[in-house]
Amino acid sequence: MQKEYRTIASIVGPLLFVEGVEGVKYGELVGVELPSGEKRRGQVLEVERDKALVQVFEGTTGIDIPETKIRFLAKGLELPLSMDLLGRVFSGLGEPKDGGPRILPERWADINGAPINPYARNYPNEFIQTGISAIDGLNTLVRGQKLPIFSGSGLPHNRLAAQIGRQAEVLGTGETFAVVFAAMGITFEEAQFFIEDFRRTGAIERAVLFINLAHEPTIERIATPRVAFTAAEYLAFAKGMHVLVIATDMTNYCEALREVAAARREIPGRRGYPGYLYTDLASIYERAGRLKGKKGSITFIPILTMPEDDKTHPIPDLTGYITEGQIILSRVLHRKKIYPPVDVLPSLSRLKDKGIGEGKTRDDHADLFNQLFAAYARGKEAQELAVILGEGALSEMDRIYFRFAEVFERRYVSQEEFENRSIEKTLDLGWELLALFPRSELKRVREVILDKYFENGVRKSKETA
């Protein structure tokens, strides 16, 4: 029986300072019982002699100094694990939220996990077909990768994430992904959009949802991605499933972290975010990956809205340093009614080189995307030039690039929300668009590849015309 304390000395924001405690450990789970009988949970952030600093996940509203009871539970925050997690909706702390029963656990696991030994990792190199050309063709996603979507307010990142969750498959095997969904501080409509989408497409059967809405306690959000990864690790490495973790919106998570740091009066880093934001994010993001000798994998797609669309804001900036690339959404493309509005040039998948080519996608993939990329970049430059000098000032060749950039956005980047393009179709489309150019202009492609695919593209483009 644990000792019960009624020795709160002060309450600041989400934090409690408790005095006269004994045997308290760092990181320990804390039970808080309010005078009303309500029970909440917290975690020890710091302990010095007989004083403990506790953060309360559900917030401190209604907690008083004389009556509230504190218990230290001699363990960390844990999640019950079992295959019954699939198909269920939970709160940000892992409590059932769909009216269903509690999980009868196979075992419990600490939500903080333990760092993966870099020696135990297996390199992600298996192609995931998302059915979205801008991703499959140019920013290829592989199993075990962490690829964030950098978005802005009002952009269709949720639709894109849902589409990926719906369509993602391991090429050739037809195997689909289990989806672990972590929502932090999003609105009811946004959450409902995902739940409905998963229900409608049947994806809910192989999904676990952890949802913390905008009006729910902010501090709970600090636990949400960790709870989600604990579930994902179980499904992937204990049960051999391929898991896609989608987390939205990481910006809200970081703000919750900042709230705690501010309440602790820590010395702030950039824009008031704590100096350890990088380390903290890494402790979440790095839980994705593959392990040698294990069948399953965890692929991670965090979504974050960049304040003022600013990529150098600390949240996208630090995220970019941890993740293996980024998909950036563009407001300009969105205004042009292009869905998905993927800003191709600054987007990047660092692991694509290992996941494409013969036996994975197709032998022409690498050459083709280099060429598409270079051509689109030059086309964009031509467009800029044309804005200043007028289209007439462009050289013959630049005018072709100009036109290419336009067609490329309209036909390659843009697609329907429910259109699932196979990788062959994506690649063939690339050749079809490149047929705008004379063959000699395609310098990024090896001759053997040109021999094999160029004519085909020209034929297709004639058919389309």
Partner: protein
């Protein structure tokens, strides 16, 4: 030695633990925290209170638990077995940890860095009766097929050999007995050295030999010398890590120490899985056979990240002391600085810029100063070199970041990565306008002698053309290309060729990934040959459009794919330039 008294924890705050009853402990001594035996290091002493940075997760630790001083500073084990190892920031072998505890790193694991069981064949180089002093080679062990591990007498020791063995021994078996002034000392193959203390050498020399990296933009334009220091700052996605990997793969150093400091786990896996497959272009043996890896990824404890750069550089110094050329890649020093900042914050120190501690600049400078070309200790004259290449990850790519600024004050080479280039898929995205190398003059003699007399001149001319291009582009942007003179248009054409056919290098292309100095010279010469002939053509009235559309351009563009053993093909292309240009002139 008297046994140090154990202390009691009074406070736990993240990686920082404060303990009382620690009288007698010294700064930077290693301690064991709680019954779990977590490893920590004392970073502040106040009466009998010690502040300890703990190298492992501190969850579940609380006041009242014991702290055991070890009385020794944080040290590394040096000896055969380092090569091909993968260690965490405090030199724990990650491969053995996986065997012992599974895929995730659990706490309190304690395994020796060097195997105590493995026997190495020791061949003596000295005889009984000989006088030896610290740094002398006592013998050697063939650690891998490309690395002879010299067994050194530890620094500071001096005396006469009274026994030297031959045969197979473990690293702790005594192999030599030396009679010193203080008495007879038994010397095993393994040395233990504190990481924060630099290993001594006899004297420092100026760096005069290039560290050839096979990367054209680096070797030709912004070279680093053996014993030099360089930094690669850049925003994310600009290719820092690829540059670091390329250097680790292709640098002509004898030993590479790669420190993955607070970076991605998958990147270390990439190195781990790829290096055994890749062949060193000089020895044709796997690159892993000359590489030591330190992996303290971003999700591993932050204090061990702080230690990792010291662990790495101490190992590198040890190989330098054998007379080898060693290169250290640290990716990324920003994460190291952030670890310092985190610990400093927990100590409630007064912060300097951006919350970094006031001693940030001093620590960075002291780290890079451990590089250099030196005469090693010992009775004979051996030369070793330690080059350090640090990646810096400034927030938002902003070079005014304190870590970048503190680094630029000490390093001699600056490779500025730009995301603008990366978006255009120009890799390596090293800016030719903003980067610099202060070794260019130092290395000129060597390049003239070893590569070609006119190499430095060609470099100078190419650089002028690139700078000229930047100025001309401004004009083009304002008034269009038609307003340029034909000679300026030729400059644009040649500069484009330098950028695309020389500076651009594909790390993932088998032939392009590495270019020898000789071949770099030939490509550059080829492009400038085209320039010279082009100028001749313009003089003789050939229209600039004809020169821009000349068909030999395709061959120039593909010259980088010419294999290293077929360099005579360059002369053929040069001949082709002369021929085609001659035809144009004849028509003109």
């Amino acid at each position: 030695m008297e046994k140090l008294k154990e202390g009691r924890i009074v406070k736990v705050s993240g990686p920082l633990v404060v303990a009382e009853g620690m009288a007698g402990a010294k700064m930077y001594d290693v301690v064991r925290v709680s019954e779990m035996n977590l490893i920590g290091e004392i970073i502040r002493l106040e009466r009998d209170m010690a502040s300890i940075q703990v190298y492992e997760e501190t969850g579940g630790i609380g006041p009242g638990e014991p702290v055991y001083p070890t009385g020794a500073p944080l040290s590394v084990e040096l000896g055969p077995g380092l090569i091909e190892s993968i260690y965490d920031g405090i030199q724990r072998p990650l491969n053995l940890i996986r065997d012992a505890v599974g895929d995730n790193i659990s706490r309190g694991v304690s395994l020796p860095a060097l195997s105590r069981e493995k026997r190495w064949k020791f061949t003596p180089l000295r005889k009984v009766g000989e006088l030896v002093k610290g740094g002398d080679h006592l013998g050697e062990v063939e650690e891998t097929s490309i690395l002879l591990h010299k067994i050194l007498l530890p620094p500071g020791m001096e005396g006469r050999i009274i026994e030297i063995k031959e045969g197979e021994f473990t690293v702790t078996d005594p192999i030599v007995r030396v009679e010193t002034k203080e008495g007879i000392v038994e010397v095993p193959m393994m040395q233990i050295w504190p990481v924060r203390k630099l290993r001594p050498y006899r004297e420092k020399l100026s760096p005069l030999i290039p560290l050839s990296t096979g990367q054209r933009v680096i070797d030709t334009f912004f070279p680093i010398s053996k014993g030099g220091t360089a930094c690669v700052p850049g925003p994310f996605g600009s290719g820092k890590t690829v540059v670091q990997h390329q250097l680790a793969k292709w640098s002509d150093a004898d030993v590479i120490v790669y420190i993955g400091c607070g970076e991605r786990g998958n990147e270390m896996t990439d190195v781990l899985m790829e290096f055994p497959q890749l062949k060193d272009p000089r020895s044709d043996e796997p690159l892993s056979k000359r590489t030591v890896l330190i992996a303290n990824t971003s999700n591993m404890p932050v204090a061990a990240r702080e230690a990792s750069v010291y662990t790495g550089i101490t190992i590198a110094e040890y190989f330098r002391d054998m007379g080898y050329s060693v290169a250290v890649m640290a990716d990324s020093t920003s994460r190291w600085a952030e670890a310092m900042r985190e610990i400093s914050g927990r100590l409630e120190e007064m912060p300097g810029e951006e919350g970094y501690p006031a001693y940030l600049g001093a620590r960075i400078a002291a780290f890079y100063e451990r590089a250099g070309r030196v005469t090693c200790l010992g009775s004979d004259t051996k030369e070793g070199a330690l080059s350090v290449i640090g990646a810096v990850s400034p927030p938002g790519g902003d070079l005014s970041d304190p870590v970048v600024q503190a680094t630029l004050r000490v390093v001699k080479v600056f490779w500025s990565l730009e995301d603008r280039l990366a978006y255009r898929r120009h890799f390596p995205a090293i800016s030719w306008l903003n980067s610099y190398s202060l070794y260019v003059e130092n290395l000129e003699e060597y390049l003239k002698k070893e590569v070609a007399e006119d190499f430095p001149d060609l470099r100078g001319e190419a650089m002028r053309l690139l700078e000229g291009e930047a100025e001309l582009e401004e004009i083009v942007r304002l008034v269009g290309i038609d307003s340029l003179s034909t000679s300026d248009r030729l400059i644009l054409e040649v500069a484009r060729s330098i950028r695309e056919d020389f500076l651009h290098q594909n790390a993932f292309h088998d032939e392009d990934t590495y270019t020898s100095l000789k071949k770099q010279y030939r490509i550059l010469k080829l492009i400038l040959h085209f320039y010279e002939r082009g100028k001749d053509g313009l003089k003789r009235g050939v229209p600039i459009q004809k020169i821009e559309e000349i068909s030999v351009k395709g061959q120039i563009a593909r010259a980088k794919y010419i294999p290293e053993d077929e360099l005579e093909k360059f002369a053929e292309i040069e001949g082709e330039i002369d021929k085609e240009m001659g035809n144009l002139m004849a028509k003109g």
